[in-house]
Each structure stands twice: as structure tokens, then as C-alpha cells.
């Protein structure tokens, strides 16, 4: 039985349900990996965060092949989304005290991730790498210090190594 907390907010619930029904209809989910960069703003809103208004730094935009957008969630976690010039989001990364909403960030790839992750033992409390047919998810962290990244190599621009850039 799925319990949705009262505090999760109607917005999150609505987005979840919307994502669920869209995914069920085999239409790409409205946010996260695989979707268009225009969805990043709604990702930020769903996580009670706002997109960084600061100009992108040189380090964050090192290539003409992709763009990076950063936002900080309501509970203080920094999220970066990486989009190809075509607009398709091919990578997400995060750093903070609490995990971001992976089911939203991973978009239509979330079910692939959750199936693969459910078959893994948590043999290392502080470390988990999950490789599934289309995506790579690596997470690390002790209490208060969580980092992670996820990318879909097949969506990355041909001249971009997602392992190197998604961080």
C-alpha cells in the first residue's frame, strides 16, 4: 500500500500521478532524464527549489554540446541537470544532506532504475552503483553527506563522455 504523507504536498502528489499515467501511456514522463530541458523548471518547483539565477560558470558550461542547469531543493540539496543541445536531459547529479526526488529526476527511466536497484543487495551501506541496460546510477554518502549521479549514455551527445561531465 502506497502511503503519501500529508506534508508531501498536493503538488508532488499531482505530479506523481501525472507522471504515472503518462508513463503508463508510454509517453515520456514530463520531467527528468530523457525529457526536454524545459522541464527542469518544473523539477525545481516540484522539489520546492528555484533554478539558480546566477550566470553559468565556465566550469559548468565547458562545451557547446550540452548545457547545465542547477537548482537547490527545498531541503538544501544541489541538483544539476545536463541537457544536450537538442534539449534532451541525459544526466542528473546531486549533492547534499538529503537525496533529491529520484523518481522525478530519473523521469521515464525511474522504473528501469528501481527494478535494477531492487535486485541488488545494499552490501555497502555508504555506496551503491546500479548499472541497468540504459543508465548508470552511482551514489555515495555517509550521514549528512550524500552525492550521486545518473546518466543515460545513449542520450548523451556523441562528443560527450557523460561519466566525465555529469557531476
Amino acid at each position: 500500500m502506497k502511503i503519501v504523507s500529508i506534508c508531501a504536498g498536493k503538488l508532488t502528489l499531482a505530479v506523481l500521478l501525472a507522471g504515472y499515467f503518462l508513463a503508463a501511456a508510454a509517453i515520456p514522463a514530463r520531467a527528468g532524464l530523457g525529457d526536454d530541458a524545459t522541464s527542469i523548471e518544473s523539477d525545481a518547483a516540484a522539489m520546492q527549489g528555484t533554478l539558480s539565477q546566477a550566470a553559468p560558470t565556465a566550469a559548468a558550461q565547458p562545451s557547446a554540446s550540452y548545457r547545465v542547469k542547477t537548482f537547490v531543493t527545498g531541503n538544501g540539496t544541489t541538483v544539476r541537470e545536463y541537457a544536450a543541445q537538442s534539449g534532451t536531459i541525459f544526466g542528473v547529479a546531486w549533492r547534499g544532506r538529503r537525496p533529491p526526488d529520484l523518481s522525478r529526476l530519473f523521469g521515464s527511466y525511474y522504473s528501469e532504475y528501481s527494478t535494477a536497484a531492487a535486485n541488488k543487495r545494499h552490501s555497502n551501506l555508504h555506496h551503491q552503483v546500479t548499472v541497468s541496460p540504459h543508465m548508470v546510477v552511482a551514489m555515495h554518502g555517509h550521514m549528512g553527506h550524500l552525492v550521486g549521479r545518473a546518466y543515460v549514455p545513449g542520450l548523451a551527445p556523441s562528443d560527450v563522455d557523460p561519466k566525465a561531465v555529469v557531476q
Binding site: I6, C7, L105, L125, H127, H140, H142, G148
Partner: protein, 533 residues
């Protein structure tokens, strides 16, 4: 009382054992309040025969011991020999009246064919005299060897500091908690396991929980509910609600109630503290979505590889790192400011003495690893004769609780500087590097031949530094060996190509004695947080 099993119910189970005296018959009808006039110890042991059948993998079974008397029982588990071994609950210890202890027996066949053996559970002061030596028949069969003869039996490596025949030796000093880096019940690798005793508050209803992972990377004690269900512990309440908690780790999230219990660790005085009871038995509300955030739940001991987590890192409680909830059976809502009495506490900070930090000590181990390595966790720094820092260097850590690098030292690797931390709950050196990862996608490193690496640990203030040389061996080779303790296991930190943080996990601790000072405490090494070795 959703997950409680009453004392009476338990006596019904144990009641299958013959209870000879009138006094004990009375006990059996009312174990909660001991009314017996005679003071005796008596142990119930079940089962008396353990069959493993035809094993295809290393198998583990449990035997339950319960003190059905009304005084402490002095119990000794006489370990069997190969291919059987005691992997948890072994050694000599005292059971308080009503206390239950589980013994894990492992069968790791080293040859094809049937084997049969007797092991003994002894009680030095029990009545009747038949408790003096209770024989347990162990039997099993195999079509082929599963373990090599020098195998995984903890008793095959007689390096226990207290020379007891057990994977988790009995403490010898009040502030010293022995632990074992051993496969344990969950085939762990570089996982330091210890035992802690949990009791229903103010009672002698206690149980020893084995295979509790010692974690300097978290704060607070977390025990799976299945391990303490017989104690009938209930969630702490907040008005008409019950308190739930969600804690976040790199591999997933733990969820369960907050319950205040009595905790006995090593020989330190009993402390009464809130712990997280990780719910693996559906005794509590389901985790709210705000808790899981699409992350995987660390949902059971077999998934986690431990029965509990002894979070003895450098902060006194977990409040700023975790989320608390007000729960009913069917829903939970965020509790942003839990009452102080419901905040999960780091046991170390809760001790009346020996509360300014911990000392982790592990011996050096040979290249290629060991099946079992025993170490000691000392509580306190400079508070007892056994935790005095000698000639050590002290590295100040980031003390800004708002920083991403809180509790980090600096670490320089190949010219790049990032944060570094000392974490017994991480089973490798984790750092992003160009070393080849294993083909199984685990993120561990699998270089063709063992690499000699170096990184420099630096204090965040001042000029103290140390160039640390370490080795990274092929993880597949290590995992396919018979060892469970390795000082040369490494992996990527977060799957990236750029060095960003250095997790000095358990391999770092072999051959070292490491002092970790709590935030807000002080010792002869100065004010915490710091690391020294």
C-alpha cells in the same frame, strides 16, 4: 503494542522444555514478574539438533537460548570444529533472567559427503544439573566442497584478543568493544561487526544483537525490529501520534519508529536512549514519500548485511541529518522539531564518561586479506588507560555544520584537493580515479595488477599533513578469495571521472589506531571535530 510479543507467549514457546521445579512452574506462568522463591538459573535451548541438509552454498542456522530462571545464567558456547562454526552469539557471557540469545551456526563443507558433530552449550550455574552441558547435534551433507579447509570459520583464526572461541569476543574492559571484520551472517566484506545488548527500558528483558555494523559515518543506534521484537518495545509517542524517522545513506534509506530503550555496550554503564527501530516486520507505518524520495529502502538485515548500525560518528545526535515524522498506522506527517526526548542519540555522546570520542584499532593484515580480523573500538579519548593517544598527528576537521564538507579533512590526490573522511561503515577506499572499474558494474576497482597509490591527508587548519600510501588490488580477485578483511579494496567514489572526495573506509584502519573526536568535546588532542592517528 503492535509488534510486541508478551512474556507469556514466549514462555509458551520455551514451555516445551521441561521445567522441573515448582518455582519454575510459577515462573512459567508469570515471567514478567519474578515471584519464585528459589534463586536459580535455568536455560532453555532449542533446537537440540540442527540439520543443514545437502548444502550447495554456505548455510547458517540459529539456536535460541533463553534464561528461564530468575538469576543471571553463565553461559558458554563451545564452538564446533570445521566444517561447522559459530558466527554469532558464541563465547562466554551472562544472560539475565528472561534474556534471549541467538547463536548462529554456519555449515561450510570442505569436502563431499555427510558430516555429523556435537557441539555444547554449557551453563556453569544452572539448575537442573543437566543444563551443565547441553549437547546439540549438527549434521549436514554436501556433494562437493564449498569452502576450502582453511575457510571462513572464525575460530580458525585464533587472533581474538580475549581468546574466546567466538566471532564477536566478549569485552574485557569496560570501554573496549571488541569487533570482528568477518563475513558474519551476511557474507560481508570489510564490515566491522560487534554485539550490543538492547533491553526494554527499566526491565531485564534484554537481547544481544549480533552483526551490528560499527559506523563512524553516522550518528545513532539503529536496530532492525525483527532483532528485538521479543522485547515488546513500542514507538515513542507525541500526543496521539507515534514518532517515525527516516535516515539517509549512500545506498538507501532506513525507516522506522523512534523508541527509547536501554542500551548496553561493552562494559559502559547502561544508557537509556532513543534509537531507530528499522521496520522490517511491518510493525510501523509505511514510509512516507518524503522519506523514500524514490530511493531504495534498506529494508531487512539480509538486504543491509547487518542487524543494526552502531552510529558512533562525531556528532552527538542525528537531528540535522535525518527527517522525523508524526505517524499513525496509516499515514505520517513531517515533524520538523521533534521533542528532545525523541531525537536519536549517538550512544558515545550519551555515556556518562568516555564520551568525547572513539578510538578504532585494527591490526595489520597480510596482503590478500584474512577471513577474520579482530579489532577494538575504545570509547573515550584519553579518559582511560587504554585510550591514551601516544605520538599521533591530529588533523582538524571542518566544523561548520552548514558546510557540504562538515567533518571533513582535506585530501590531496594527484594534485587535486577535496574533502576526506574516515568511515568504518564504508568497505573500501572510495575515490574517483582512472583505475579500471570491475566489469560487474559494482563500482569497485579491478586493476590488472595491484596498484600502489598515494594521497595526502591534511588538516583543514594548520599545516599538519600525512602522505598515505595504500594499495588497490583487483576487487574481483579479493571477492573470489576466502577472505572478508582486506586492506587493499578500492572503488570509485561516485562514478565520476574527476576526483571529488576521498572516503577513507575500513581498509585505512588496518594497522592503525585512529582517534575521532566528537564535535563540541575536547581531549588532550584539542577540541573536536578532529581525526588523529
Amino acid at each position: 503494542m503492535k509488534n510486541s510479543i508478551t512474556g507469556a507467549a514466549f514462555v509458551t514457546i520455551i514451555g516445551a522444555l521441561t521445567i522441573a521445579t515448582g518455582a519454575l512452574a510459577q515462573l512459567a506462568s508469570d515471567s514478567g514478574a519474578v515471584k519464585a522463591s528459589a534463586s536459580i538459573a535455568h536455560i532453555g535451548v532449542a533446537p537440540r539438533a540442527v540439520g543443514f541438509g545437502v548444502a550447495k552454498v554456505i548455510e547458517t542456522r540459529s539456536i535460541k537460548i533463553r534464561n528461564a530462571g530468575n538469576i543471571d545464567a553463565s553461559v558458554t558456547v563451545v564452538a564446533p570444529s570445521t566444517p561447522f562454526s559459530v558466527t554469532a552469539g558464541g563465547g562466554s557471557y551472562s544472560l539475565t533472567p528472561g534474556q534471549i540469545q541467538y547463536i548462529s551456526i554456519q555449515f561450510a563443507p570442505t569436502a563431499a559427503g555427510p558430516v555429523r558433530q556435537e557441539m555444547a552449550i554449557q551453563c556453569a550455574n544452572c539448575t537442573p544439573a543437566s543444563d551443565d552441558n547441553i549437547a546439540i547435534t549438527l549434521s549436514g551433507n554436501a556433494k562437493a566442497p564449498i569452502a576450502v579447509p582453511t575457510g571462513t570459520s572464525p575460530s580458525a583464526t585464533p587472533t581474538s584478543p580475549t581468546a574466546t572461541p567466538t566471532a564477536t569476543p566478549v569485552p574485557s574492559t569496560s570501554n573496549a568493544l571488541p569487533f570482528s571484520v568477518t563475513a558474519g551472517s551476511y557474507e560481508g566484506v570489510d564490515e566491522p561487526y560487534a554485539s550490543v545488548t538492547i533491553c526494554a527500558t527499566g526491565t531485564s528483558d534484554c537481547t544481544v544483537v549480533n552483526d551490528v555494523l560499527i559506523d563512524t559515518g553516522s550518528f545513532g543506534l539503529r536496530i532492525f525490529g525483527s532483532q528485538i521484537r521479543q522485547l515488546g518495545i513500542t514507538p515513542n509517542t507525541n500526543g496521539s501520534s507515534e514518532i517515525g524517522e527516516c535516515a539517509f545513506f549512500g545506498s538507501g534509506t532506513t525507516w522506522g519508529s523512534v523508541s527509547t530503550v536501554d542500551v548496553k555496550i561493552a562494559g559502559e554503564p547502561t544508557i537509556t536512549i532513543p534509537i531507530q527501530v528499522m521496520d522490517d516486520i511491518d510493525a510501523f507505518a509505511s514510509p512516507p514519500r518524503d522519506c523514500t524520495q524514490g530511493q531504495q529502502l534498506i529494508a531487512s538485515p539480509s538486504e543491509a548485511g547487518f542487524n543494526g548500525l552502531l552510529g558512533i560518528g562525531q556528532v552527538a545526535n542525528d537531528l540535522i541529518f535525518t527527517d522525523y515524522f508524526d505517524c499513525t498506522r496509516n499515514s505520517c506527517s513531517a515533524l520538523d522539531s521533534p521533542p528532545n526526548s525523541d531525537v536519536v542519540l549517538n550512544p558515545v555522546a550519551s555515556f556518562p564518561v568516555d564520551n568525547n570520542g572513539v578510538v578504532v584499532s585494527l591490526p595489520s593484515i597480510p596482503a590478500g586479506g584474512q577471513a577474520t580480523t579482530n579489532g577494538t573500538l575504545y570509547f573515550g579519548i584519553g579518559t582511560e588507560s587504554n585510550n591514551q593517544p601516544g605520538a599521533v598527528k591530529t588533523y582538524r576537521e571542518n566544523s561548520n555544520a552548514d558546510s557540504d564538507d562538515y567533518l571533513d579533512v582535506d585530501t590531496v590526490y594527484k594534485g587535486a584537493t577535496a574533502g576526506g573522511f574516515f568511515d568504518t561503515g564504508s568497505n573500501g577506499y572510495f575515490f574517483n580515479s582512472s583505475v579500471a572499474e570491475c566489469s560487474d558494474g559494482s563500482g569497485f576497482y579491478c586493476p590488472a595488477s595491484t596498484l600502489s597509490e598515494s594521497a595526502t591527508i591534511e588538516s583543514v587548519s594548520g599545516s599538519v599533513s600525512d602522505a598515505v600510501s595504500f594499495e588497490v588490488a583487483n576487487a574481483d580477485t579479493l571477492f573470489n578469495s576466502n577472505g572478508a578483511a582486506f586492506d587493499d579494496l578500492g572503488g570509485s567514489y561516485d562514478g565520476g571521472a574527476t576526483f571529488d572526495d576521498f572516503d577513507w573506509g575500513l581498509p585505512f584502519f588496518f594497522g592503525r589506531t585512529v582517534y575521532l573526536g566528537l564535535v563540541g568535546s575536547s581531549s588532550s588532542l584539542g577540541a573536536g571535530p578532529y581525526a588523529a592517528y
